[in-house]
Point group: C2
Chain length 327, copies 2
């Protein structure tokens, strides 16, 4: 198996629909004249996914994590560049399984491979390392930035928070879940659902938005900081799945448990701000995009982020979000 | 040192001139409406550079390897997205030295950082892994593809071939060079010179072009294959530096030595094809771009690539070019 066979036989079919890609036979791709929203996310085995995760799901998580960034900006995905560094002993079947996952999600999200680079570590122990640069077209209302939040804006989040972190805990056997709960939580960790339809529906309506990938509090902190405000989040209001509810019920300290969910990563939901006058429009946008959206707090004067209990007092939260350089 | 401090303090200044980058404070960047030539190259410690190479030079090599791809297409570089996976024990000073190299070459080539992702391995032994996606604007004549070569076209290459491979051999102490030769060869390995001016000058003149990074024969093979022809290369005509000449003189088998230089990687020269009627124009383009260009062969009927001796017989060459999956 050679590098060029891999490109020609396994990856080139993924680029067949994209004239931009020159069938992966050239030094570069050529993108046509239009505005692009561009995002880049890395994934490393042992850091962003488990070394034992099935490689088709890893491929789909790579796509979906990047699409989640585009979703938060209201962009419509069109294609991507892929970089793969395989361990020295990677087998052709592994690469094919990975490409199978790419193909599946390319079809789901109607995107094409535009180009990339494939190489291998010279160490068997070096982790599979993936890099993707994704391109989307901006919504006609313009991209939803992180920094547009206004004093008094409501804060909303899509879906449920903390499931992916619990899915990881389930895979690591840190907590015993029921079979059904475990399956749904692991699925949230391995195969997130980018909120593309919602992202489009709230473009021009949300004053600011961010994809929740580092943890709800960390990402609320980013949005608040960029908007020059403070994010006050009602811990009880944060939406949770039934599986997460069962986990909370088994914890000694309910507030600690709520804080843990709000600081675990990989949710891939959208957190956004919108003025109170837009509540009805937000409800309409959520319904139109068939996505659950919950109002969880407010942008207030000040800085940072607070997770508040029912009486409005701040809950002590653990380290705010995942930071790859602090462990 | 946290991930967000690193981005804000070390990388954001590299994006300060680019409105596209939103100061690296958002989920995505926004590229304005124009055509882009896009290329992506990965670099891994121990594979594409030596773990001991100074990190400012590693940064500059990453930039230059990508610019070389753009150069071959005749594109003018404008900016890039960067992905870094640092070993678990990376120090702030190392990241700063790396960023210093980026800054230096951003100024040299007038490019900006548009966005990216920074993360860390959870293993100290895992190698620094870099990914860059580069954007250029195409020449008004259109990009020079790999597949446009015509029967009877001359083949040309810029600069000299094999120096980078000898520089790597020098760093690995596989051969004892003079101090002066060693310095110039190592510099070719660590700090290649992308042939951007030449790439622009031959746009519309060259029928096909490719950047020579896998080795002259391998890349000539790619160009020939895409053009549906065979590349016949005159081994003696391939341009060599004085340092490479000294190395050849010390080898037992001259033809074997010539073949070794033509199959070592990392030259970052441009190989291109042009009809014989254009010889004068090629000379003018080379002179205008102040780049040495040498005619080294012909596109003939057939397939593959042949390295020929003075009597036109084929020299047995070692495995044709570097392949990360064949070692």
């Amino acid at each position: 198996m050679g590098e060029f066979d891999i490109i020609r036989e396994i990856f080139a079919p993924l680029a067949a629909d994209a004239p931009e890609a020159f069938d992966l036979t050239d030094d570069a791709a050529l993108l046509q004249r239009q505005d692009y929203v561009v995002t880049k996310d890395l994934m490393v085995a042992g850091v962003h996914f488990l070394p034992k995760d099935p490689l088709d799901l890893v491929a789909r998580k790579l796509i979906r994590a990047n699409l989640s960034d585009l979703a938060a900006k209201g962009a419509k995905p069109v294609g991507y560049f892929l970089g793969c560094v395989w361990p020295a002993n990677a087998k052709r079947e592994q690469i094919e399984l990975f490409a199978q996952g790419l193909k599946e999600d390319q079809e789901t999200f109607r995107i094409s491979l535009f180009g990339g680079d494939t190489t291998a570590h010279n160490l068997k122990t070096a982790p599979l390392t993936l890099s993707a640069t994704f391109f989307g077209t901006p919504p006609k209302q313009g991209v939803t930035r992180r920094n547009g939040g206004l004093l008094g804006d409501d804060l909303y989040v899509s879906g449920t928070i903390g499931d992916s972190g619990l899915g990881l805990a389930a895979l690591k056997k840190e907590f015993k879940f029921t079979t059904v709960d475990k399956a749904s939580l692991v699925s949230r960790y391995q195969l997130p659902e980018p909120r593309l339809t919602l992202g489009t529906a709230i473009a021009g309506l949300a004053t600011a938005a961010i994809d929740v990938s580092d943890g709800l509090l960390a990402d609320a902190g980013h949005l608040a900081e960029m908007s020059g405000l403070r994010a006050a989040i009602d811990a009880v209001a944060v939406p949770r799945s039934a599986a997460a509810g069962a986990w909370i019920a088994a914890q000694d300290n309910r507030w600690r448990a709520l804080a843990a969910l709000a600081t675990s990563g990989d949710d891939y939901e959208i957190l956004f701000a919108a003025p109170p006058a837009m509540r009805r429009s937000v409800t309409v946008a959520a319904k139109a995009s068939r996505t659950d959206v919950t109002r969880i707090g407010t942008l207030t004067r000040g800085a940072g982020v607070g997770l508040l209990n029912e009486s409005g007092a701040e809950i002590a939260a653990p380290a705010s979000g995942y930071d790859h350089f602090k462990k």
